[in-house]
């Protein structure tokens, strides 16, 4: 088998190039079929996400160039994408695929979506018959590696976006967010995103206050929340457990005296202020009050970057896992390759033939050269006739998804082993076996 992987990703190609090469989901099955029509491709699949487009193929005899296919399929001149391409073969292709599936090659290392995307690409290609024996094994292994990386390292455990850090902090304060009330002051994109995350984690009610009341209403509608007129902000804000501020006000909107009022109304239940406005909306002095927690945009950003750094450390562990797995897979491929099996099968039978001739030679007495050749031809003929069908079956099996089972079966039937050491041991056993048999005679 000859694995080849060719593609572009967010590191090698700008979005203008990636979008030219992207394959929309609806056209993916068709693209896979087209890929299979390429004369050098025996199996193939296509991973196309917003950050990468990759063609993975099992090439016949290792020949052929997927660049031609790309320029033909996308109707783009080679020169336009060639400089952005990366190409991997054999073990490097395996490694790259393992890294992609494990999210080590992602823009945000450790993000979980990519594995799902690769799985979908695999399912699509498989459905149109483009993925068969070898590619199937490769992909199955890639998913297992991704799972190992996820369970054995902490690569996906920390939050690496502002919104998810906000959720994490809120959970550190409130335990679970069930029934917690979120108050948006200012109706920006970022606060909307944070609110969405909080809601997804169980927060129940949303209030929106904005200088322009219309915008407050529109935003509130998105969440099934309640719009509040800005003038009533201080009267209503004590209901909120989590306050997200993002107004364009030039001065602080929340100062310690407000917070003290909220706290006494709330009977000192904690409040969490997330201030994503610049200039800030919340007086940092408020953070000194018991039960008030204030995080501004820099604090959140800081948390994000510590987490990113943590992930980098975990990524090193993950790379080690991937390397080990590439080697394992390589070794597995070799044993599964039918050629060594055929060779060792032939060796095995040849050893038996020789041993048997040596055994009866004594009884045959002295033979003429012609007779010697006849015995040789007879025994060889029998073996070759018997071997013909198994060997051709093995050769066909190599192109079949069932090859693993057939190869395994043959190896077990004839007790074939792979390593040199085993071969030496076999020879030794054959010799002692011979002398034993000689003694019996």
């Amino acid at each position: 088998m000859r694995f080849q992987l060719i593609g572009v990703n967010h590191k090698t190609a700008p979005v203008e190039v990636r979008e030219r090469l992207a394959v929309p989901e609806s056209r993916l099955p068709d693209a896979c079929k087209k890929l299979m029509e390429h004369p050098a491709v025996s199996e193939g699949m296509i991973v196309s996400t917003c950050n990468r487009v990759e063609f993975i193929a099992n090439m016949k005899n290792g020949a052929g160039d997927l660049r031609d296919f790309m320029s033909e399929y996308f109707q783009v001149d080679r020169s336009q994408f060639e400089s952005h391409l990366y190409e991997f073969k054999e073990d490097d292709a395996i490694r790259h695929l393992f890294r992609v599936a494990s999210s080590l090659d992602s823009m945000v290392v450790g993000e979980p979506q990519i594995l799902g995307q690769v799985k979908e690409a695999y399912a699509t290609a498989r459905a149109v018959g483009a993925v068969r024996a070898q590619l199937d094994q490769l992909l199955t292994r890639a998913f297992a590696v991704a799972k190992r990386v996820r369970t054995e390292t902490a690569i996906g455990s920390s939050s690496v976006s502002i919104a998810s850090v906000a959720v994490e902090l809120a959970e550190k304060i409130f335990g679970n967010l069930q029934g917690k009330c979120v108050y948006l002051v200012g109706a920006g994109k970022m606060s909307e995103l944070a609110a969405r995350h909080l809601l997804a984690h169980g927060a129940s009610s949303i209030f929106v206050a904005n200088r322009t009341y219309d915008r407050a209403i529109r935003m509130a509608q998105k969440f099934d929340g309640q719009a509040i007129e800005f003038s009533r902000l201080y009267d209503t804000c004590d209901a909120a457990d989590i306050v997200i501020t993002s107004t364009g006000a030039p001065h602080f909107i929340f100062r310690p005296e407000h917070a003290e009022k909220f706290l006494s109304k709330r009977r000192n239940r904690p409040m969490f202020f997330i201030d994503i406005a610049v200039p800030r909306d919340v007086d940092p002095e408020m953070n000194k009050l018991d039960g008030i927690f204030v995080y501004d945009i820099d604090d959140l950003q800081q948390a994000v970057s510590t987490h990113v750094a943590d992930r980098k450390k975990e990524a090193e562990k993950a790379e080690a896992i991937v390397s080990g797995e590439v080697q394992k897979f390589h070794a597995r491929l070799q044993t599964l390759d039918v050629v060594p099996t055929i060779v060792s099968l032939q060796d095995h039978l040849e050893t038996i033939r020789q041993a048997e001739i040596d055994r009866v030679r004594g009884r045959l007495g002295s033979l003429t050269t012609d007779q010697e050749m006849a015995v040789e031809a007879l025994s060889r003929g029998i073996i070759n006739k018997i071997m013909h069908t198994p060997i051709s079956t093995l050769k066909t099996a190599a192109r079949d998804p069932e090859s693993t089972t057939v190869v395994d079966l043959v190896r077990r039937l004839f007790n074939l082993r792979d390593s040199e050491k085993d071969k030496a041991a076999d020879k030794e056993a054959a010799i002692t076996g011979q002398s034993n048999r000689g003694a019996h005679n």
């Binding site: 959970e171 304060i173 335990g175 709330r266 009977r267 000192n268 953070n287 000194k288 039960g291 927690f293």
Partner: protein, 271 residues
């Protein structure tokens, strides 16, 4: 014999102590599991030791007095385990394990048999008094421990440094719940215990001597306890202010304990 079992229990609590010390610097999931299982085993041996003491003396009351520290340690462990069952966190162990270890250690090394001179010992009200008061103590200790953890976690959240043991401490809300519930659990026990004590005193001596240092301090502690419950229910005090009150109650409790040695009514040791 009960002393032997107690020492075995002590050894297991020692693992808990180790966990508490390690947990101050870093977090170890495995150690927390080991500590938990050691604590289970410790409690089993502890219970054996206590049961044997009761069987030996034939009386619940005198056994409780003889093994006061041991009984208190056991009750604290029970409250801790209840909190664990509900909240699945061993974090309060950071405060609880050293205390339990200390109490058990004192009980396990104290070989001198106590001579009970008080006339009141045979009274079954006394057993109620002791058990109630001790359960109250145990709950108070856990509440105190929780308020310390609350302070630590609050400080960590405010300082925005999210590393070390604080990242693995339970959320503020959970710590607060543990503190609040043990506070609410302990109060009725403490109150009933004091009432039972007054009944004992009234029967035994005909009056309650409020000037006795032990009784004075106990009443003071109860007053602080009441204040804690009140401020919590009315003003929702938690965090720093609650921890301060809990510390006062804790110190009063310790002083009241020491006052055993100066109290006319509670001095059981023949001098």
């Amino acid at each position: 014999m009960s002393l032997t079992w107690l020492r075995v229990a002590l050894a297991f609590y020692g693992v808990g102590l180790l966990y508490a010390l390690v947990a101050l610097t870093r977090t170890s999931e495995i150690l927390s599991k080991i500590a938990l299982h050691a604590a289970y085993l410790g409690m089993v041996f502890h219970l054996v030791s206590l049961t044997e003491a009761v069987v030996q003396s034939g009386q619940l009351a005198s056994a409780s007095i003889h093994n006061a520290e041991s009984l208190l340690a056991f009750l604290i462990m029970i409250v801790f385990m209840l909190a664990y069952l509900v909240y699945k966190t061993t974090s309060p162990g950071i405060v609880v394990f050293p205390l339990v270890f200390l109490l058990t250690f004192v009980a396990a090394t104290n070989q001198q048999p106590l001579v009970v001179t008080s006339v009141a010992v045979k009274h079954s009200w006394l057993a109620v008094h002791i058990l109630m008061i001790f359960t109250g103590y145990a709950a108070l200790f856990l509440s105190f421990g929780a308020s310390i953890l609350y302070l630590l976690q609050e400080r960590a959240l405010k300082s925005k440094s999210r590393s070390g043991m604080f990242s693995r401490l339970p959320s503020l809300q959970v710590i607060d719940d543990i503190g609040y519930r043990s506070l609410m659990l302990g109060f009725p026990f403490m109150t009933l215990g004091l009432i039972a004590g007054s009944v004992v005193a009234a029967f035994a001596y005909g009056k309650v001597d409020f000037l006795d240092p032990k009784i004075l301090l106990s009443v003071l502690m109860w007053a602080v306890y009441l204040l804690m419950v009140y401020t919590r229910l009315e003003a929702g005090w938690r965090g720093r202010r609650a921890a301060m009150l809990a510390s006062v109650a804790f110190v009063t409790a310790i002083v009241a304990w020491i006052a055993n040695y100066f109290s006319g009514m509670h001095r059981f040791i023949a001098s």
